[in-house]
């Protein structure tokens, strides 16, 4: 009993802080999402109307929200596997005994993660420039016509995915690297003795041993990618023709640009519900895979 009380004493300050700065705001936002809190309500609370689920219903009837959701899903569905593949590839490369200058490469791959997004976005905007950008220059050398990356609704999202994957893969790479290093060497030796080649060693030793790491990385990337905001904010401002508006960008505009805080809170909860659902699916899928 006494030790239980001590435990509570240790946990209480943290719980208090979490409830004041996390649960309370979330609860407030939930209540706000049921009202039409806006600039008029900020002037005088008597201008606040309780609207029930109207914000949610209207949100689901807003074409731009669906487009933002579609854009975000596109970003997640293409971006997450690409990002995982890139980071796993880089991790394998760095883990390999054959690679030289490991420290240098590790730094180079990790550098984009820690650099300011705005700074690298400016550089990428130059790289992606239609007429003077290096990427189009390279493509034209290969005989491929120039692509208007950031101004063509077809290409703006791929350009942003490319940028985001480049920016983020180093983070997952470090996690994978740690996962790879924790695989006992004897497993490879045993597999080698049984006559397994490089591919078979990867398929039957590395891949299953990385399972938990892979699950964690995929959940982390997925939740991260669902919250796409800064890249379109800096690179395209949601354009052209709103092809890069993400759910979070939509929420930002509703909440902080137009001060429709009620509607913006509703967006936040819808996004939360979607991410929660997808994470549950991932966990179930992983469990099913293990059996």
């Amino acid at each position: 009993m006494n030790s239980q009380r001590a435990a509570w004493c240790f946990v209480a300050p943290a719980l208090l802080v979490i409830s004041v700065f996390f649960f309370l705001p979330v609860l407030a936002a939930l209540i706000m999402s049921l009202t039409d809190f806006d600039i008029y309500a900020l002037a005088d609370l008597r201008n606040l109307r309780f609207v029930g689920l109207r914000n949610y219903i209207q949100l689901l009837q807003t074409p731009l929200f669906w487009q933002a959701l579609g854009n975000t899903l596109y970003f997640v569905v293409v971006g997450v596997p690409l990002s995982i593949a890139a980071s796993l590839g880089a991790a394998l490369l760095l883990h390999s005994r054959l690679t030289w200058f490991k420290g240098l490469f590790r730094t180079a791959f990790f550098a984009p993660v820690v650099t300011s997004l705005v700074a690298v976005a400016v550089i990428w905007r130059y790289l992606l420039h239609t007429r003077y950008g290096m990427i189009n220059y390279g493509l034209q050398e290969l005989g491929i016509p120039a692509i208007d990356w950031l101004n063509d609704p077809q290409w703006a999202m791929p350009a942003i995915i490319l940028f985001a994957v480049w920016k983020n893969f180093g983070y997952n790479m470090i996690i994978f690297l740690a996962g790879l290093q924790s695989i006992p060497e004897d497993l490879y030796e045993a597999a080698g003795l049984d006559g397994a080649g490089t591919w078979q060693q990867f398929r039957f030793v590395t891949w299953p041993m990385l399972g938990p790491t892979l699950l964690m990385v995929s959940i982390l990337s997925m939740t991260g990618y669902f919250q796409l905001f800064a890249e379109p904010y800096v690179m395209t401002q949601g354009g052209p023709v709103q092809s890069t508006v993400s759910v979070l960008y939509f929420m930002y505009e509703q909440g902080f640009k137009w001060w429709n805080l009620g509607a913006a809170s509703a967006v936040a909860f819808v996004l939360f519900a979607i991410m929660f659902g997808v994470t549950l699916l991932q966990l179930r899928f992983a469990k099913g895979g293990e059996v």
Binding site: D36, D38, I39, Y40, L42, A43, D44, N47, R49, R125, Y126, H129, T130, Y132, D148, L150, N151, P153, Q237, G239, P240, V241, Q242, F256, K257, W258, W259
Partner: protein
């Protein structure tokens, strides 16, 4: 025992904090928020004010333009508004709704410095909401035509076009001359001002029924959007974005560009010397002769929450003096809103500024509702879809009206409730 220690610690902390806040300030401290470049430059004008107003100290805080709107609303919500601040004149209706501003009518009536008839009327009007004056124009901003004189001449035109028809004719001639890889006019797709300027040239207002509903289905707006769409459809305007306008303008990639006063300085600075006599500014062409453009710029406003309103007004009055404005113009290049400043040699002799002087006499305010900026953004987005061929002009007008009506729903409810009372 530990409790005693923590209480003692807490008490000493409280004592420390209160001793900080209790430090007595000498006289009155005015908090003044200004944005961007203006915020940097205005500090040069403050010492003179402090010298002539002993006992008053001005604390200038600079806000970046991109964060200014958020910061002002947050300051209002947190009740930490400054005494005096710079406010984009299209934001005045919004802060007026919040009751964040103090009306200036009384101060102006009693002032020997501020004379309404000396200000460009369209700019003054942007500060009047619901019949009262909420701000004093500090500098003005509008959009005029920047154009390449030499290109126009080569295409066979000696004077800039003054009507829409003449404008299209000149652009078509230039396009024919420069070929498929170059264009006649630059209309940046991330700006709503060029289309808005054309729309303001019409007789119909942009909102109707006391600004309760959108009025974009009016024939006037559709004519403006049609002209805008035609420029794209006839390949007179490029669809792709441009990173360096000055370079492209110098190269002849485009020959017309609708833009604002800050670009006078930029063109002078960034175009090579041999091209300096090739560019010029002109008043915007209209449906039938020179016509209106947007009334932009910033005003100085007095916070309703200010406890030093007299001193705060004195600061606004000081900054509105003709000599302060002339000095401010020298420092920033921002254009003064008072006609008497335009007879001073620096502006009167500037050939590039001449078009602005004409244009300021014909500027029009946008609808004075807090929701206007959101509606203007929708207008830009819908226009972008028209230029990409996704919507016809009539479809766009209908869609835009629906969007505006939706955005204005709360306003209609507020007005109906006010009338019922």
């Amino acid at each position: 025992m530990t409790r005693l220690v923590s209480i003692a610690l807490l008490l000493s902390l409280v004592a420390l904090l209160s001793s900080c806040s209790q430090r007595q300030e000498q006289g009155v401290v005015l908090k003044f928020w200004a944005m961007g470049r203006e915020g940097e430059v205005v500090t040069a004008l403050i010492p003179e004010f402090e010298r002539t107003h002993p006992g008053v100290r001005v604390e200038v805080q600079q806000l970046p333009w991109t964060a200014a709107h958020e910061k002002l609303l947050t300051a209002f919500a947190g009740e930490v508004m400054p005494d005096v601040f710079q406010l984009g004149n299209t934001w005045i209706p919004e802060l007026e709704v919040l009751n964040a501003l103090a009306p200036l009518d009384g101060y102006v009536a009693a002032s020997a410095v501020v004379r309404q008839d000396d200000y460009f009327p369209g700019i003054w009007d942007t500060n009047v909401v619901n019949g009262r004056l909420w701000g004093l124009p500090w500098y003005v901003d509008t959009r005029v035509m920047f154009y390449r004189q030499d290109m126009l001449k080569r295409a066979g035109f000696n004077t800039p076009p003054q009507t829409w028809a003449g404008w299209m004719k000149a652009m078509t001639a230039i396009k024919r001359m420069v070929g498929p890889d170059n264009y006649a006019i630059l209309l940046p797709s991330d700006e709503f001002e060029p289309l808005l300027a054309l729309a303001l040239q019409q007789d119909e207002p942009l909102l109707r029924n006391g600004d309760r509903y959108g009025n974009f289905r009016s024939a006037g707006f559709q004519r403006s959007l049609q002209l805008y769409a035609d420029m794209y459809a006839q390949k007179l305007a490029p669809l792709n974005r441009i990173t360096n306008v000055y370079h492209e303008f110098g190269m002849g990639y485009v020959s017309f560009y609708i833009s604002g006063p800050w670009n006078m300085g930029e063109f002078k600075r960034r175009l090579p010397a041999e091209q300096q006599d090739k560019w010029m500014t002109a008043i915007l062409p209209g449906p039938a002769g020179p016509a209106a453009s947007v009334a932009g710029g910033s005003s100085l406003v007095l916070a309703a929450s200010s406890r030093h309103k007299t001193e705060a007004w004195q600061l606004i009055e000081y900054l509105s003096r003709t000599d302060s404005m002339a000095r401010f113009n020298e420092l920033t290049g921002d254009l003064p809103p008072r006609r008497s400043n335009w007879t001073l040699p620096k502006l009167a002799q500037d050939v590039y500024a001449r078009a602005f002087a004409q244009q300021f006499e014909r500027v029009r305010p946008t609808p004075k509702v807090p929701e206007w900026e959101q509606i203007a953004t929708e207008m830009r987005l819908v226009a972008e879809r028209v230029t990409h061929g996704e919507l016809t002009v009539a479809q766009a007008a209908e869609l835009l009206d629906a969007k505006a009506d939706h955005i204005l729903e709360k306003r209609r409810w507020m007005l109906a409730r006010k009338e019922a009372r």
